[in-house]
């Protein structure tokens, strides 16, 4: 087992393409996306599951610790512009043939 970083982003679904793009550009190629996330945030009128088109997505991506700085730099402008939140934490990856650390 070895240390990797977990990135969690909650944002409105209309941002999804932009965020995945930005992860890709930061060199983070694996991700998982959970759709239809309801929620209420710090901006007004964001409890949006009622309009199917405006629900939130929850994006999870695991990456190597050294990639975090790039991700943070690339994601911050998006968050400032369109809203959404991004959190980073430490997790241990179980080493397998194809894992984040195997790249």
């Amino acid at each position: 087992m070895h240390l990797v970083k977990k990135i969690e982003i909650i944002a409105n679904s209309f941002e999804l393409a932009k965020i995945l793009d930005c992860l890709q550009k930061s060199g983070v190629h694996g991700h998982a996306v959970i759709r239809n996330v309801a929620g209420s945030g710090l901006r007004e009128g964001s409890e949006d599951l009622d309009m199917t088109m405006l629900d939130n997505v929850y994006i999870i991506a695991f990456c190597m610790p050294e990639q975090i700085k790039t991700v943070a730099e690339n994601v911050r402008p998006l968050l400032n512009k369109f809203g959404g939140t991004c959190y980073i934490s430490d997790v241990m990856e179980i080493r397998s043939v194809k894992c984040v650390a195997s790249l």
Partner: protein, 322 residues
């Protein structure tokens, strides 16, 4: 007679189920149409109305009336966001004004569909090419809105990725499915109608009913947002549809539309988008406050149009056309 029309409109199952949905939220029932069912229903309605329009367009062919109607549609779709923008600027900043103007310049397909169901029940004919007008009026307002932002926003010169903007405007799922179904209806004509109409016709009214039940839920949940919206925007959301419908009716009279078509055209002018345009605005004008443009369109203008507007515009038509 006006009251009469309103009552006969209200006593329709779709409208009553819309009220039932609103009531459910007010009394805090846990009734909900679970996602993504409403999405399915809206796809169905677009497919069915587009396909029917296409089949009828084949039958009628493209004549002068069609061309005039479509021109009128495009003109209104560009003019409405322009003049509403300046009305809105009286009280709001550029971003909010442009976003709301775009919302009201575009259309609500469900309002159109409700009006067409109302016409069908009254036995008043309307033409298939009105669906083409519906499709053409959805997108231009988005472009006009962004041009307004570009022109009037002082702080920074905005750079839109125009390829993305145009895609959002002209290829978003509702426009795409509507136009696609219209063309398929034209291609398959009478034959396609025979095989597909048991699905697209017989269930149509029922799906509309179910969908309006959901719209009632959605609209009522937005009502609490209206407190933050203020009196100006709420009156805007009622008066502007009437104004737009009025202008629409004048144009319709001028180019001699049939009564059924005139009602649908008035409804297109009067209605506001609460899906496609808000989605586009969030991406392109994030400075604007979504609760302003979504809530007014959804919680005020939409109910106003389907409850009072449709019979009101029809009443005017009855007056003017005879």
């Amino acid at each position: 007679m006006n009251a009469n029309l309103i009552v006969s409109n209200i006593l329709n199952p779709p409208i009553l189920f819309f009220f039932l949905g609103m009531l459910a939220v007010l009394v805090k029932s846990d009734l909900e149409i679970p996602p993504p069912i409403p999405k399915l229903f809206s796809l169905y309605l677009l497919l069915a109305i587009g396909f029917k329009g296409g089949v009828e367009l084949t039958k009628s062919g493209i004549n002068q009336q069609v061309v005039l109607t479509i021109l009128a549609a495009i003109i209104m779709a560009c003019a409405v966001p322009l003049y509403t923008f300046f009305i809105l600027r009286l009280k709001l900043d550029t971003y909010d004004s442009a976003a709301i103007a775009a919302t009201y310049g575009s259309i609500s397909a469900v309002t159109f569909i409700t009006a067409s169901a109302f016409l069908t029940e009254l036995g008043m004919p309307f033409d298939g090419f009105m669906v083409a007008a519906l499709a053409l009026m959805e997108s231009p307002a988005i472009i006009v809105g962004l041009i307004l932002v570009n022109f009037f926003a002082r702080d920074e010169k905005r750079e839109f990725v125009w390829s993305e903007v145009l895609r959002d405007a002209f290829l978003n799922s509702s426009v795409f499915l509507l136009v696609g179904s219209l063309i398929i209806g034209m291609l398959t004509g009478e034959h396609g109608w025979e095989v597909l109409s048991p699905f697209t016709q017989q269930m149509f009214y029922g799906v509309l009913t179910f969908f309006l039940l959901d719209m009632g839920l959605v609209a009522a949940r937005r009502i609490k947002d209206l407190q933050k919206t203020g009196v100006f925007l709420i009156s805007f959301a009622i008066l502007i549809p009437i104004l737009n419908a009025g202008i629409g009716l004048l144009i319709a009279r001028a180019i001699d539309m049939s009564q059924g078509n005139a009602l649908l055209f008035a409804v297109l002018c009067a209605s506001a988008s609460y899906i496609a345009v808000p989605a586009a605005m969030r991406l392109t004008v994030p400075e604007a406050n979504p609760s302003l443009y979504v809530s007014t369109a959804l919680a005020v203008t939409f109910p106003f149009n389907i409850i009072v507007g449709i019979p009101l515009y029809l009443y005017c038509i009855n007056l003017f056309w005879s």
